[in-house]
């Protein structure tokens, strides 16, 4: 179903509760009463069209208006991606970590297996943090300054100072895949770890991992298909300044 501006915001969540994440990451608090999407967006200084395109593409994977996304301010997209990082690092990862730690009782007989899984995930968290910190501290500020420079029609002092010799290609060169390990962890848990005593705990860990995987792949799609091509276009423009 196509999500439109005159729908009630509360109905949107009933339609697809996964969109709660989008609403939060775009910076809209709950408590909608009977207000429409358009009203809620305006109240929170969110561009309604941006909200609609993002929620439609998260709701329906076939719906991906790449060209429309290019028209929006880079900063909106950056803020959205930043909040996604925050949500993943501060909530999702610790939740999974706790659930893995919860398995220690069940895997007591085989401490080795527990250690294996725990270490595997700890290593993954380290990689994920490095990856996201690079984006938060370097790539996103670069994109925002690039955007400001284009708007002002001249390179801002901060751009000259911090990013004069940076470009998105540099980022792409040391950009590693952060989804593969999640895929592996899933298969190790489903196929190769000896069956646990408490299936409920184990399943809820798996649910979280599946969710994380989906979240990361949606996130990567926005970065790879929208942010990076958009930055490349912007870099071409700034050369002409």
């Amino acid at each position: 179903m196509l999500i439109t501006a005159d729908m009630k915001m509360a109905d949107l969540i009933h339609l697809d509760f996964q969109l709660l994440a989008v609403i939060q990451r775009i910076g809209i608090p709950l408590g909608f009463r009977e207000k429409t999407i358009d009203e809620v967006c305006k109240e929170n200084n969110v561009n309604t069209d941006f909200f609609l395109q993002i929620s439609n593409s998260f709701h329906d994977k076939d719906f991906f208006p790449k060209e429309r996304f290019f028209e929006f301010k880079a900063e909106w997209l950056v803020n959205f991606l930043r909040r996604t990082h925050q949500c993943i690092l501060e909530h999702k990862i610790p939740e999974i970590e706790l659930k893995i730690e919860g398995l220690v009782e069940d895997l007591k007989a085989t401490t080795r297996n527990y250690e294996l899984i725990k270490n595997f995930f700890t290593e993954y968290i380290r990689e994920l943090k490095i990856h996201m910190e690079l984006e938060d501290n370097k790539v996103f500020p670069y994109v925002v300054e690039l955007d400001k420079s284009l708007e002002a029609n001249k390179k801002t002092p901060k751009f000259e100072e911090s990013f004069s010799d940076y470009n998105i290609q540099k980022y792409l060169e040391d950009h590693n895949d952060i989804e593969e390990k999640v895929f592996d962890l899933k298969n190790i848990l489903i196929k190769y770890l000896p069956p646990p005593m408490d299936n409920c705990k184990y399943n809820s860990l798996l649910f979280e991992i599946f969710r994380l995987e989906k979240d990361l792949s949606d996130h990567a799609k926005l970065e790879d298909k929208v942010l990076i091509p958009k930055v490349k276009l912007m870099e071409r423009e700034i050369k002409n300044l």
Binding site: L116, F120, E180, K181, F183, D184, Y192
Partner: protein, 192 residues
């Protein structure tokens, strides 16, 4: 399970083919792509057995060489935007074909692929050679080191690794290490 990629620039054609494939009632995983970049991404991430691809895409040189690189493991069915003669091969379909023609051709093709993948999946166990490769990879050795120690070419090592990943569903070296320890292919003490 038969994994299929539908590669066509047209959303309508992709959806139509998906719908028809879903009527075939054999377990399939379908992913839809529309550009050369998406095709190469999907080949890596989905590990497809079959690709149904529009000739407007497969005629692009880089896509063509990508397909050739997959060898016989990837079954290709071509979609034409023009009509085909009545007795055309089962590996060719036209967007003008009717339901019965499409259903027949696709059913036969999917069935063939299904039979061969089932044989493959039954031999899910790693071969002795694959276990040797896995053991060395799990210890953190590079493809080149593995090749030297086993007196085989790096090309062969890469092809063993591809098969290991396909059979186990594990892509990263640390994932393979965990698997190797769980299955006593290497010991916990072997890694530092």
């Amino acid at each position: 399970m038969v994994r299929i990629i539908i590669a066509d620039p047209s959303y309508l054609v992709r959806k139509g083919l998906s719908t028809i494939l879903n009527e075939l009632k054999c377990v399939t995983q379908i992913s839809e792509v529309s550009t050369p970049d998406e095709i190469s991404d999907a080949i890596i991430s989905e590990m497809p057995n079959m690709m149904i691809i529009n000739t407007s895409l497969s005629s692009i040189p880089e896509v063509d060489s990508l397909i050739k690189k997959q060898g016989t493991e990837l079954n290709i069915i071509s979609i034409f935007n023009s009509p085909l003669p009545n007795n055309s091969s089962e590996k060719l379909i036209s967007i003008l074909d009717g339901k019965s023609v499409l259903l027949n051709k696709l059913r036969n093709q999917v069935k063939n692929v299904q039979q061969s993948t089932q044989q493959q999946e039954n031999s899910e166990e790693l071969s002795d050679r694959e276990k040797e490769v896995l053991q060395k990879v799990a210890l953190g050795k590079t493809n080149k080191e593995v090749a030297n120690e086993l007196f085989i070419s790096t090309h062969t090592v890469i092809s063993h690794r591809k098969n290991i990943t396909r059979k186990l569903g594990i892509k990263t070296v640390s994932g393979l290490t965990v698997y190797a320890i769980l299955n006593q292919i290497i010991g916990m003490d072997d890694i530092s």
